[in-house]
Structures are given as C-alpha cells and as structure tokens.
C-alpha cells in the first residue's frame, strides 16, 4: 500500500488517516515499533515536520505512544484498535448512505443491493 496524498487537503490529516488504516489492517501490528519520523517522511515524500504533526495527533488519540529512547510504538490495546476499526467502518457506511440516498435509494434498498452484489461477486469467484 503506497501513500496516496492529494494536494487539496492538509497533508498531515491525510497521513493520520493512512497510518490509521495501516494499523487497523495490521500492516503496523499492535505493539510494534513504527519507523522513525524521517523514514516515514522520506517514504511518503513529505516534510518531516508534517509527518511529526500526524504522529503527534495519533499519539494524542492514544493510537501510538512514544518511548523516550526507543521510538514510537503502536498501542498494545487491541480494544483501541478495534474501536478505531469500527469508527472507520461507520464513516465508510455513512458516506455510502449519503451517496446512495442522493441516487434515490432508501437504506433498505441499498442493503438489498449490497447483498445482491456480494452474491454476484461470490459467483464470479466460484466460476473463476
């Protein structure tokens, strides 16, 4: 998963979102050590100060913690990560509902569409 940054929105908040995603999906597992600010900044081709700001935000949110000498770690609290996962999922669903309602579907109809699509994808996978 590469960093995808748009110049239209503040970069630091996009970095927060993408690191959250990396934690939730287990690319940065609970309790693991994060790369240094400079490594992360170079990898994402962003300014180290911007990366620093993103990490401070994640720290304030309790998702990462810093240990003075040994760097930054992902939280060991699995519950915190699960909670974040739920929040991210909820946001996705909300976003989806807003868009599908704009097309004139109710939430219930949308749910049926989802199930139908899921079944169709399952069949295609079986055929392949």
């Amino acid at each position: 998963m590469a960093w995808e940054l748009s110049a239209q929105r503040p970069i630091w908040s996009q970095l927060v979102e993408q690191i959250q995603l990396r934690i939730v999906t287990g690319r940065y597992p609970a309790g693991s050590r994060l790369p240094s600010v400079r490594e992360l900044a170079a990898d994402a081709s962003v300014n180290p100060n911007t990366m620093q700001r993103a990490l401070s935000q994640l720290e304030a949110d309790g998702l990462v913690c810093s240990q003075r000498t040994s760097g930054r770690f992902v939280t060991e609290q699995e519950e915190t990560i699960m909670e974040l996962k739920k929040t991210l999922a909820k946001n996705l669903v909300r976003d989806f509902l807003t868009r599908i309602e704009a097309l004139g579907y109710t939430a219930k109809e949308a749910a049926q569409l989802l199930e139908a699509e899921d079944a169709a994808q399952f069949r295609t996978k079986e055929d392949a």
Binding site: A7, R9, V46, N47, P48, N49
Partner: protein
C-alpha cells in the same frame, strides 16, 4: 529559537534603477523546508543572493544566523545557484576535492555514495554530461555539506519528472533536523508535498508567509491552485 535568517526593511535596487526587492521584512525559524514561490522576475533570486552574500543590500539589513553575510556565514550556508559556476573541464572527482578544500562541512563519503546510487562515474567530466545529470551532480555537491542553511535556487528547473522526485528525495534525506532549506521555484505542484512553509514573493515584496497545511485547510485547495489565484495575470 533564534531565526536562521531575517531581513529588516531590506531593499535592493540594481544599477540602472530597477528595484528588485522593496522593504522586505521577514524571519524564518530553523528546521523547516521553505518554498520561495513567485512569478518570474519577482525577486526570488535576488533574495537568495543577498542571503548568500553575493549581493549587498541597497538599504535595510539581512542576517544569517545573526550575522551579516560574509566569510563566517558562507561556512554555514550551502548555496545552489541558478546557473552553474563550476568549470566544465572538471571531472566529478576534481569537483569533490574542490568542495572538500573549500568547505569544512563537506562530507565526501556521502557525496560518493549519492553519486554511486545514480551511477555517475567519478572520471566523468561535467562537460560531457546531460543537462539533467549536471544538475544532479551540482545538487549532490550542495547537499553533501552539513550546512545549517541550504539555499537552492530553482533546483528542479531543467530535469525530467523522475529526476525531480530523486532531487526532492535527496533534499528530504540529507538535511538534518536543525537545518533549514529555502528553495525557490515556480513549479509548485512538484514540490508542495515536501514544503512545510511558503513565502509568496511578488514585485519585490513578501505577499504571504504561511504554513502549507494551513493554506490547504483555510482555502480548501492546493498551494499550487492558491498561488495561481493570487498571481493571476
């Protein structure tokens, strides 16, 4: 923190009467990568040359690390000029020795390492290199110094997009935490993700000094788009 450089009512009038900078007052804290952005002829290079000590002010003052630009500041400032001043009969090896003689903070091993990664041979002469390779060599020489202030005048002007990425990566990886980079360009879209502060310069005056994410937050658009709005012709 003591500013790495500051200008107070700084003006520069060139012989012939053209005013390149008018009453500029600004101050930049260390530890940032600052974009000096402005249309052609707005005074970007003049400001950089005043900071590097190549020009002297017509009035007002300029200070680098608290000092008037001179021998002492040149030891702290690594300057990439818009046009090359290097002798093109020199080989890469010659250039590295040349820089080593001139600057106590030049890290030769680091320079060789960067050159090797680009597969630039030390026996190659500047004269026989492509424009892009020449620019990369010059940037490597400048970034291999452990300076406190890097003044980069149009570092990405003449190179292809892949080389641009390489140059920006080199800048990001080679400046230390307390160092400051001031880079001038009008190719804003290419550099805006590595900047954390911008100076908009227009008709010899500072039009804006701001944090880039604040611009995105407040204007809801990229620094590039905002620049086009501000400097619409």
């Amino acid at each position: 923190m003591e500013p790495i450089f500051q200008c107070k009512n700084l003006s520069k009038v060139y012989p012939g009467g053209r005013q390149a900078l008018a009453n500029v007052t600004l101050s930049v804290e260390p530890g940032h990568i600052v974009g000096l952005l402005g249309p052609n002829g707005s005074g970007k290079s003049t400001l950089i040359k005043l900071l590097s000590g190549l020009l002297t002010p017509s009035s007002g003052e300029v200070r680098v690390a608290g000092m008037v630009p001179g021998v002492q500041t040149k030891a702290l400032v690594s300057y990439l000029p818009e046009r090359s001043y290097l002798n093109d009969w020199m080989t890469v090896r010659d250039l590295l020795s040349f820089f080593e003689d001139f600057y106590a903070d030049f890290d030769k091993a680091k320079a060789y390492d960067m050159l090797q990664r680009l597969q630039i041979l030390s026996d190659e002469r500047l004269r026989t290199m492509s424009k892009g390779t020449k620019e990369k060599v010059q940037l490597i020489l400048v970034m291999a110094r452990n300076a406190r202030l890097y003044l980069l005048d149009e570092p990405i002007g003449g190179v292809d997009p892949a080389a641009r990425d390489y140059i920006l990566q080199t800048i990001l990886q080679n400046y230390s935490e307390n160092a400051t980079v001031l880079l001038s360009t009008h190719l804003i879209a290419d550099v805006e993700s590595v900047l954390d502060e911008v100076l908009f310069i227009s008709h010899g005056g500072i039009a804006l000094q701001a944090n880039v994410d604040e611009i995105r937050e407040q204007k809801g658009e990229s620094v590039d788009a905002f620049f086009r709005e501000v400097f619409k012709c």
